[in-house]
Amino acid sequence: MNALVSISGLTVTYPRAATPALRDVTLDFLQGEKLAVIGESGSGKSTLARALVDLLPPGSRRDGKIDWPEGPPAPGRDYGYVFQDPGASFDPVLSIGTQMIEVLQTHLSLGRHDARDRAAQLLVRMQIPSPALALDAFPHQFSGGQKQRIAIAIAIATGPKLLIADEPTSALDTVVQAEIVALLKDLVEADNMALLFITHDIALASGLADRIAVFRDARLVEIGSANQIIGAPREAYTRGLVATHLDLTTPVLIGVAP
């Protein structure tokens, strides 16, 4: 598979920061691939995504090479970005329809009527009930999970080749999380999009991604197939992440009830 983007020796330092947020990172991100980036707070995983699409704050220093063989992606059109807090992704005083139609009309030459139809279709695809009514509703009228579905609808509205999802389920409960992850998987596979999925949850990454990149303290610890990272991690740090994972089969910490 061809590289969607090749990153080599990438180092990023935020303004006024003493140490880099990302150090000497080299990796290829393939077309149509689902790549999970995992790590703890401050490991550099969000910085990688922001550096990739030029969303670093002004004054940040970026060294190394980011090579897009087909040219850098245009914001809002060639890549979509889904953030952790779905509430902060919207303008609270504009209807969902207004915000979706603006994106569609900015990047695709659609009339207002066609843009509204397209927006309604997107909401159907996101399994939002009563799409026509939803278009006239405001962000606060939706639950956190529904808001994240609508944010995903906007992110993929222009048919991008890359979707970046930065901890898209961390603010949601586990039931909604499972639904959103299943939706993302279906969407990127159906549209052959590449997915950069940033998470602190190694199990979530294992269920979704083709490959997993493990970050710690601004460095890439290791990258490999999801199978290799979970089943045969090379680095002690990754083994620790696998060992601290909790699910319904891991040992419990307590004895019998007192």
Partner: protein
């Protein structure tokens, strides 16, 4: 004697969309026991925790704690009684005065509850810090300059300061990284074994609850829809919400040949 006995609590938030946050909720908790309170967002678990913490007044129902009428306490009597029922919240930064030091935050709990003398307060603070895996060197540091995991340890130390019988943990490990979370859960279990403290452990994450809770109560739309020993409920959930929560736990997935082919 049952430590905490919650009977028929109801709480309706009025307004255009009347929200029944609690509809006839009853739970019990024994000494030294952990009850996991699990449910999706908006199921009422935090409202129940807040009623027990006396941060929200219920419309009806009763709460008995250590044999007394917990909801009848007012003013100075309530402040004194709070020593026995402490709380730790999700966001450790939001739970402290941002200008406090570690020692100051813990010392305040001792001062307010008249525990020990002013002179022996630094020793008590040092002992509490050591019990939660920190060192006395942490005392002069600002709450804002320590890590999130250390801050949650300070929150636990502050809760322990007043020798509580029950600590309400409202999503207390949800904002922590997994390795930090594992250590905090170990700490909570150790403290329970040593001190016989009971926990009401509120979480949306059944895997975390399973690791620490003896019994579990599952909430949905303001009601307890299922309750029982944690292992039994997880092995065979009888409610739709219980089944959804079990199914939603992310599992480590590997060795699927289909996936290897595309990797």
């Amino acid at each position: 004697m049952t430590l905490l006995e919650v009977r028929n609590l109801t709480k309706v938030y009025p307004g255009k969309r009347r929200v029944t946050a609690l509809g006839d909720v009853s739970i019990t908790l024994e000494r030294g026991e952990t009850l996991g309170l699990v449910g999706p967002s908006g199921s009422g678990k935090s409202t129940l925790a807040r009623v027990i913490m006396r941060l929200v007044e219920p419309d009806s129902g009763s709460v008995r704690f250590e044999g007394g009428d917990w909801l009848a306490l007012r003013g100075a009597a309530l402040r004194t009684a709070r020593a026995r029922l402490q709380m730790v919240f999700q966001d450790p930064l939001g739970a402290f005065n941002p200008r406090a030091t570690v020692g100051g935050a813990i010392g305040d709990a001792l001062r307010i509850h008249h525990i020990g003398t002013r002179a022996d307060r630094p020793d008590r603070v040092a002992a509490l810090l050591e019990r939660v895996g920190l060192t006395p060197d942490h005392a002069p540091r600002a709450i804002t300059e320590i890590s999130g995991g250390q801050r949650q340890r300070v929150a636990i130390a502050r809760a322990l300061a007043t020798a509580p019988a029950l600590i309400v943990l409202d999503e207390a490990v949800s904002a922590l990284d997994v390795t930090v979370r594992a250590r905090i859960l170990d700490l909570l279990v150790t403290l329970q074994r040593e001190e016989g403290i009971a926990y009401l452990f509120v979480s949306h994450d059944l895997a975390v609850v399973r690791a620490v809770a003896h019994r579990v109560a599952i909430m949905e739309a303001g009601r307890i829809v299922e309750t029982g020993p944690t292992q039994a409920v997880i092995a065979a959930p009888t409610s739709a919400t219980g089944r959804a929560l079990v199914a939603a736990v992310p599992r480590l997935i590997f060795n699927s040949p289909a996936k290897e082919a595309t990797a």
